[in-house]
């Protein structure tokens, strides 16, 4: 029997266990020395994560960070919470088992572009499809950092790396498209060098009831420096990024003078003061159909502005809601007497 009851409204907001005392950013930092290269984007993400948790004031003992393998996956060691640095690509599986058997815990997955999309691609697909209530942060540096600079599944076609000295011969994946195609209920993007936006996005993900997927563009200054600089550099970002907000018009540009409208082939840029201004879309993250969300996910520089923020957030029962619901219903409907179970359908007596 499947429970098709929609979640009750109070389920929609994730219930986050709050600490008794007021905790600051440093209360969430462990005393382990960080080992990333100086200048690595991971530092900023770590700081924003600690600030976000302190903004929410999460109870640290209820927080678990589960990671795979990669530079990014060292993350749990630096958090003064529970954590497991697991094996390459498998963090979503461990996180799923943990969250389903311990719904009281907040489980965050930290992963890289190779970890999540190459070796662990299958697990990413399924954890999102199942809507297990875990929050996944994919640090996308479009390179294998830890193994010293081979191309990754998000590296651009033709990119020259250590393992592609004359350029790659494969097309990259778009992480947001993958997440949307996997029926993710929360899909967002942020980047390492905008602390405020990153904090807000992390908090939005944390408060989502269900699987959340956040792509964080992260600079690897050693093996793939300035991979996102063309649109995330301070001087150009207003012109080249589209900050999405649910309910607001999709406007961008230094003076908010451009917007996105639907075209015959997807989306197009229109002048916010021109004749098509009326066609500029309002962002609806809660739209059941992921059609416009997919179009947004596929906006790439330089043709289009690069979207940042929550692209999609819809309400759906989580895997845990269904599973716990079934357990409750079956406990109510059936006897659960072990002595009876051991006897099976029929027994006989030997005198």
């Amino acid at each position: 029997m499947v429970l098709h009851t929609p979640p009750s409204p109070e389920l929609v907001e994730n219930i986050i266990p709050i600490a008794d005392e007021d905790l600051s950013r440093k209360d969430y930092a462990s005393d382990v020395d960080t080992r990333w290269c100086p200048g690595c984007g991971d530092y900023s993400i770590l700081a924003q994560m600690q600030r976000s948790l302190s903004n929410i004031n999460v109870a640290p003992e209820k927080m678990v960070f589960v990671s795979g393998i990669g530079c990014s996956s060292r993350f749990p060691y630096y958090m003064n919470t529970y954590g497991m640095h697991s094996i390459h690509g498998r963090a979503p599986t461990i996180a799923s088992g943990l969250k389903l058997s311990r719904p009281d815990l907040q489980v965050f997955v930290i992963t890289g572009d190779g970890d999540a999309l190459s070796i662990g691609g299958n697990h990413l697909l399924h954890v999102l499809r199942r809507n297990v209530d875990v929050k996944i942060f994919l640090f996308n540096n479009r390179i294998y950092g830890l193994t010293k600079g081979q191309y990754s599944p998000t590296s651009e076609l033709g990119k020259v790396t250590k393992s592609s000295p004359v350029g790659t011969t494969e097309r990259p994946l778009n992480p947001l498209s993958v997440a949307l195609a996997s029926e993710a209920t929360f899909v967002a993007r942020s980047y390492d060098t905008d602390p405020q936006h990153l904090q807000t996005t992390i908090e939005q993900a944390a408060r989502h009831h269900g699987a959340a997927f956040v792509e964080i563009l992260q600079n690897c200054n050693i093996f793939n420096d300035r991979a996102f600089a063309d649109y995330t550099d301070r001087e150009v970002r207003d012109e080249r990024l589209l900050y999405l907000e649910h309910g607001q018009q999709m406007l961008f540009g230094e003076n908010q003078d451009k917007g996105l409208a639907v075209s015959a082939t997807g989306l197009r840029v229109v002048d916010a003061h021109g004749p098509d201004a009326g066609l500029i879309l309002h962002h609806d993250a809660t739209r059941p159909s992921p059609d416009v969300h997919q179009l947004l996910a596929r906006c790439n520089y330089p043709e289009m502005p690069v979207p940042m923020g929550v692209i999609r957030q819809v309400t759906a029962p989580t895997y845990g809601d269904y599973l716990d619901g079934q357990i409750e219903v079956q406990k109510f409907k059936n006897r659960h007497d072990i002595a009876q179970l051991l006897k099976g359908r029929s027994t006989w007596q030997v005198e």
């Binding site: 640095h85 058997s101 299958n122 051991l342």
Partner: protein, 632 residues
């Protein structure tokens, strides 16, 4: 345990009385039902087993079916069979050669005739011996007519037409009417072996009560088959096997897979932890997932993962969360799980892995049995990666070995692999129902740790006796810490790369597993304490080896037998035991995996008896091998 040797199979069919009506008494009989996959042979066999249980014989069954779900009807590939051996004594195998073969079509006859004892009874459905079916079974001429079956006693029964006639006026479709032929055959065999129809009639009512027409058809076919036996002059075929003397108590029928399921639910009760079972379907382990999924009312969380890696990952997550984390699979799945299993070794988490072994390598023969994963689970991981390995010896033993595996997993904070196999998974035997209140609770050490002063907590500090690390799951304030697959510093659990520490941690992980031996029973020897010959076995071959050893003793040889349920660590006294005999024979359904371990560990010149046929060891052939070695 009765150690009286059961009369060997096929021990003559000497008629004590002639004239058909006289009933002969026999100690033990083995019957095999064989037919097309669609003929309902598994159903017939299981009903026969139920009737036999109620009658009071000891019994053991051996289902054998093709891996293909629907092979072409009448083809050799589509033959499915079910063997049952029943006795007035305790028995430990489903018998080697059947005394009676029921063949529902030519393909079934072709596939199974070779196994039938010379002079054995052959029941054939003569209706199925059409030229088309004969061709599908590659018979150049009809064996019912060409004299090739003269060595056997034959009952040629028009099973299909008689069954259809019995249900004629019920208005069934031809197909449904024909389907009742397995009940007709069953009725006939019930008459042959003096079984009561009552348990089967009850079952029909339970199963088909909501389809009164079908229920009535099956009942009629059953009666018709029974009457056919009674009214047809079948010389010397009416046989009675008196009830066995079993330890008094309440019994049920159980297969190995059912016992695993019951063991897991019971372990959840005895630990007072919720069960999480992550698994990816694979023959012959799927039943465990399927049956557990139907037990949500016991708080069971089954998780059908996207692959075996995910399955063990989720179980590790559940174990890390402090639950009863279990994953189950077969050999190919173990191969996929090995990296994650190593994570559980490194993080030292209490995890249970069930491996219902099947025939390999690669996809091998998915529905056939083998004991070929022992070395895989012992060594099939990178690095020095010790873990605990146990093996069940009978269907019912699967239940108790689950409890033992869970006890060790928690006491020593370690992954434990429990080996079963296809044979144990599917074979059924009578099983004394345990009293849940008589089973010991299983201690969960982290429950006490959660109450110590967090200042005294170090994730890799160890219990001085067991060397179990201080495992505290997430959720407890003041104990926040990180674990992972990188090498751990002794005591603190911090990441560490120092040479001395890695040596020390390698030693500690090994020593922890060895110390399990201090908390488990020593190995018992059945037979002389020392002397000429020891037969050493493990896992599902227990029944065959036990039977063969007893038969060799009957033949005048003094032979000791010891059976291992603990493969890693070995019982403390094993080295001593294997050195006390001139000859050590290790029978296995592999090419010598335990033998390799015994030789490597104890430097004894153990010999092997090895069969890798996909079938359980034959007790008869093994008896011959034992006698041969004993006489050398």
């Amino acid at each position: 345990m009765t150690t009286t040797s059961p009369q060997a199979n096929g021990s003559g069919n000497t008629a004590t009385a002639s004239g058909g009506a006289a009933i002969q008494e026999r100690d033990r009989v083995t019957v095999r039902f064989a037919g097309d996959s669609g003929d309902g042979m598994q159903l017939a066999g299981n009903r026969f087993a139920d009737a036999t249980a109620v009658f009071g014989n000891d019994f053991s069954t051996l289902p054998d079916f093709p891996a293909e779900i629907r092979a072409p009807a009448g083809s050799l590939a589509g033959v499915s069979s079910f063997q049952i051996s029943f006795s007035k004594h305790q028995i430990f195998t489903p018998g080697d050669e059947p005394d009676t073969l029921v063949a529902m079509n030519p393909a079934a006859l072709k596939s199974h005739l070779a196994a039938l004892t010379k002079g054995g009874l052959l029941v054939v459905n003569e209706d199925a011996f059409t030229s088309g079916n004969l061709k599908k079974a590659n018979y150049p001429s009809n064996p019912l007519a060409d004299g090739s079956l003269d060595d056997f006693r034959i009952i040629k029964a028009p099973i299909t037409t008689a069954a259809i006639a019995a249900v004629e006026d019920l208005g069934l479709t031809t197909q449904n009417a024909e389907r009742t032929k397995n009940f007709f055959a069953l009725g006939l065999v019930y008459w042959l072996y003096d079984r009561d129809l009552e348990p089967t009639l009850d079952w029909i009512e339970q199963r088909f009560g909501r389809l009164p027409n079908i229920a009535e058809a099956n009942r009629r076919a059953l009666f018709a088959g029974h009457a056919y036996g009674e009214t047809t002059e079948i010389a010397d075929a009416h046989v009675r096997v008196p009830p066995a003397v079993l330890t008094p108590g309440e019994y049920r029928t159980i297969t190995g897979n059912q016992a695993l399921v019951l063991g897991l639910i019971t372990a959840s009760h005895l630990t007072d932890l919720e069960l999480f079972y992550g698994s990816y379907p694979i023959t012959p382990a799927s039943d465990v997932l399927v049956e557990l999924a139907a037990l949500r009312e016991f708080g069971v969380r089954t998780f059908q993962a996207e692959d075996e890696i995910s399955a063990i990952g989720t179980a590790i997550g559940a174990a890390y969360g402090g639950g009863l984390g279990v994953t189950g699979t077969s050999g190919p799945g173990i191969a996929l799980k090995s990296e994650a299993l190593n994570l559980a070794v490194m993080t030292e988490l209490p995890l249970l892995v069930l491996d219902v072994q099947r025939s390999g390598p690669s996809t091998g023969m998915p529905t056939k049995t083998e004991q070929t994963d022992l070395l895989q689970v012992m060594f099939g991981r990178n690095g020095e990666s010790p873990l605990c390995v146990l093996a069940a010896k009978s269907p019912g033993d699967c239940f108790y070995m689950v409890l033992e595996a869970v006890r060790i997993a928690f006491q020593f904070v370690t992954p434990v692999v429990l080996l079963s196999d296809t044979y144990l998974a599917n074979t059924a035997e009578p099983w004394p129902v345990p009293d849940i209140n008589q089973l010991d609770k299983i201690d969960v050490p982290y429950r006490k740790l959660e109450h110590i002063d967090p200042e005294d907590f170090q994730p890799y500090a160890r219990d001085p006796e067991t060397l179990a690390r201080m495992f505290v799951p997430p959720g407890t304030k003041g104990f926040e810490h990180r674990i992972g697959g990188l090498e751990k510093s002794d005591i603190s659990g911090d990441v560490a790369y120092s040479p001395e520490n890695h040596q020390r941690m390698t030693d500690l992980r090994g020593e922890k597993i060895r110390r399990i031996a201090n908390f488990m029973p020593e190995l018992e020897v059945d037979g002389p304490d020392s002397g000429d010959m020891l037969v050493l076995s493990w896992g599902s071959t227990y029944g065959a080896v036990f039977t063969a050893v007893n038969d060799a003793r009957e033949a005048g040889h003094e032979i000791a037998h010891a059976h291992l349920q603990y493969l890693n660590p070995f019982p403390r006294n094993l080295g001593d035991i294997v050195s006390r005999y001139n000859k050590v024979l290790i029978p296995e359904a592999n090419t010598g995996q335990l033998r390799m371990l015994i030789r490597a560990n104890f430097l004894v010149d153990a010999q092997g008896y090895n069969e890798v046929t996909g079938q359980p060891l034959s007790a008869r052939l093994l008896t011959e091998a034992i006698i041969k070695m004993a006489s050398e």
